[in-house]
Amino acid sequence: MGPRQQLDTKVRDRTTHARGVGTSPPRPDAPLKVLGRFAYASDLHIDGMLWGATVRSPHPRARILGVDIGQALAIRGVATVLTAEDVPGHRFYGIKVADQPVLAAHEVRYVGEPVAIVAADHPETARRAVEAVTVEYEVQAPLTDPESSLAGDGDPIDPGGNVARHVRIRHGDVAAARSRAEIVIEAEYRSGVQDPAFLGPEAGLAVPDGSGGIDLYVAAQWIHDDRRQVAAALGLDPGMVRLTLSGVGGAFGGREDLSVHIHACMLALRMGRPVKMSYNREESFVGHVHRHPSRIRVELGARRDGTLVYSKVRLLLDGGAYTSTSQIVIANASYFAAGAYAVDHVEIDGYAVYTNNPPRGAMRGFGAVQACYAIESAMDRLAGELDMDAVELRIRNAIQAGDLLPTGQVIDGPAPTRELLDHLRSLPLPPKRPAAGEDLRRLPGGVGNTTHGEAVVRGVGYALGMKAIGFSGGVDDISTARVSVSVAGGRPVAEVYSAASECGQGIVAVQAQIVRTELGIDSVTVRPADTDIGDAGSSAASRQTWMTGGAVEGACHGVRERILERAARRLGCSPRDLALTPHGVTVPGKGEALVGLADILGHDTIEHTFVYHHRPTEPIDDVRGQGNAHIAFAYAAHRAVVDVDTELGLVRVVELATAQDVGRAMNPQAVEGQIEGGSAQGLGLALLEEVQVEDGFVKNASFTDYLVPTILDMPPMNVRLFEFPHPDSPYGLNGVGEPPTLSSTPAIVNALRNATGLDLPRVPVRPTDLIASLKSDGSPC
């Protein structure tokens, strides 16, 4: 069994620095962002730059018969128009599989696919040039239904067939277990297309260096992998392509794939001038990937006492037109399709298929969101069939350290599933709604003034979520950081240098906190992230604080060693007899410094670069899906309390309470921010957020009609951080960004089910779904 003691406050007492690990120092970007002064990628500017724009396919599926750029080139102010044949290097790119054309040459597979790019002296001129490019298409019937795609209907979209990946997991013997089950439930759950809905649109500025190379300033999640793909498409040595992270206005997985990158560089290199590209909001909706819509069939068998006997799950994710990360999203969805429960007999088949819908890829939770929604819905259904308390059912089956995952891996870190649920269950419920005089903002419909309490019923729902942290499946994931220490104005100062992408999660602040804790130096500067230093990996998979935190910690240890060696030489003793404190080098246990840092360093800079690796993993096998694929797991649980207007189908979430194992809260305020934000995104998926795609066309590509929760939709949150130190991570921390997105959605939908007695098999839940007398198309039942 893993460690069980809860260190909650004790851990924080260990902090040696007032602004070190475990504290919440003000973030350097926060005041700028609040005041509207933070420079996002869309604010990039350099004198003499041109503006790039993209010609996109208006069809979900068509052959390209010809592209006429003559009229566009004739417009005054238009510098160049480029098509597929102008791509200097590889004509296809992709984060995992290079199957997406830089510019479509012979066919388009989705509405919005880039076909040509233009550069002009003004964004308005560029816009007109885009309209002036004539593309002749032979329109074909699109394949937009994932079931039809899986069934092999029509011409395959991808030459290799329409199945991007089939993940097969076999654990125990489901066929035999079926006969032992006393109760069996079967249900299908569907989820819609969620957009990352980051506020900062895709943007970047490419600047030619005059000797054939290029500098690209861009909002991204992983600049090194971006560089790999950009260099390949440009036909350049990676050393000729330098990426610098620009201000990122949110990412949530939507910036794992390239957007403006290659296009801006192609235009800039062709013209020998800087080129800026910045999508508008409508373009942004097809300029990045969305969360995969899912259809998940769950069959659960249990004994009357609630013990799960077997679990059989079939998942179908619509991956859209190109591969992106579909193959690992479906793997991640499949790994956790049986939920955070110990089940001896499990059969999971996960499919990701191609369609002519816009590409789907990474989004916070990465497949585990859809899986969690389905299994947690099924668990409430099972509790109903058993006439058993839904939390009791979960606790009875909750996975524990020492249990096996369906992939055969032993859970070896903390797995405090029962603690999370027990805590939530013990919290008092929010007070009842007053009979009259309630503030409209606390009622379903809000300021719309749709109810004063009429037809409002309350419900409570729970959900438990689990996912792997970090890269899984045999990837040797690394992060690199350099820490240097010198003296400025008589005081020691430190600088941290890494390529870790700050997407708003707070990695900049955390890097400085680690240096303060490790070296006791107050003044820490975190350099802008670029590709001149080694890879830091992606701000994805809830891995960045773990991986880059580990790299910074390692670099600090290297620096400390060198400082102590110097001091030891000067003092004529062994470095092992010395310690580094905020005041200088001391003998351990004695307060007074023997020699100050400024003295030791003089005019020198001491630096150390460290490359952090996580523990090795392995891929799962193709036959039974077995393997030790994961480095760690994170768990979160939510309790939602909702009020539903059963006549109008409107909802007010009254309270969201959550408990999450964070290992160690490196920056408690940032951790709480992640949890509140992730929970809000989960609320959005439960109630509001859906990219409506009809026959391959996005119908609501704006924030007017793609609705994300506002402050009047998000309830007050009750957040409880559990700090069970993780054995393998720096400071015992665990990844925190994704887990809240998992359990928030099903907790809310379970609360809606509890309030209304309806099945609610689909998210987002629409008003018509909540009105017993209406069908989903609005017609009477």
Binding site: G445, L687, K699, L707
Partner: protein, 293 residues
Amino acid sequence: MDYLRPRTWQDAVALKTENPAAVPINGGTDLMVEIKFAGRRPACLLDLSHLQVLKGWRKSNGTVELGAGVTYTDVLEHLGGDLPALAIASRTVGSPQIRNRGTIAGNLATASPAGDAHPPLLATGATVRVESMRGVRDVPVGRFFTGPKQNVLEPDELIRAVLVPAARGPQQFSKVGTRNAMVIAVVSFALAFDIPSRHVGTGIGSAAPTPIEAADATAYLEQELDRGGYWEEHRDLPAGTVDGFAERVAAAARPINDVRGPAGYRVHALRVMARRTLRWAWSALETDGTHAH
């Protein structure tokens, strides 16, 4: 794109005659979105946002005259007593920033079927005062809208003011959006009682090509109130009367299916909102005798 910035209202009217294609801009909360997002490119903008003369309101002879520059925030903060339905509707508009800039007159000019101000203006029998070099004319709101995003304004005309009768009875407004704030109406409904004239007014938004009144419903309700002597004595309304009114409101709708919701839901929701707003308004009358006479 040309940009005209008149010094005075008179100049603005003259410029509109000289440049009939000029698109007026005040708060810009509709127009700027169309320019930035929908790629609309007006040949010429006529900026009215700085004209102080449009920003005021005054009440005379029981009518509140709202200058064309009066914002939702103005109505919400200062006019809730005289224009309660319009104030409730103003509160549902966008975000505080949108409410600070967006104007009632701009809502009329855009003439979206979903405009939040329209149902209360219809229910209260408001009038739009329009002006050109040819003179001034007053158009009842009920005759102002001619189609989706279309109105009776001639190319040389500008909205000068909106005249709204001050409330002489309870009023209500209700708007369904999928989100609890900052949302375009899926469907909306306004109800206004004018007690002295024994008149009921209604307005429906987002359920027809233009904002509409539910004339059958108001006629029915007035008749029921007359027949039962309810104007004299504010007793509980019979459920049948409330349902009869709600059915007729729902029957007035001619909604479409779109990304914001199916037509059937809009009709269903209208029925519920009509029932609820009628009960709320009537109970205000029961508990508050000030509107009785």
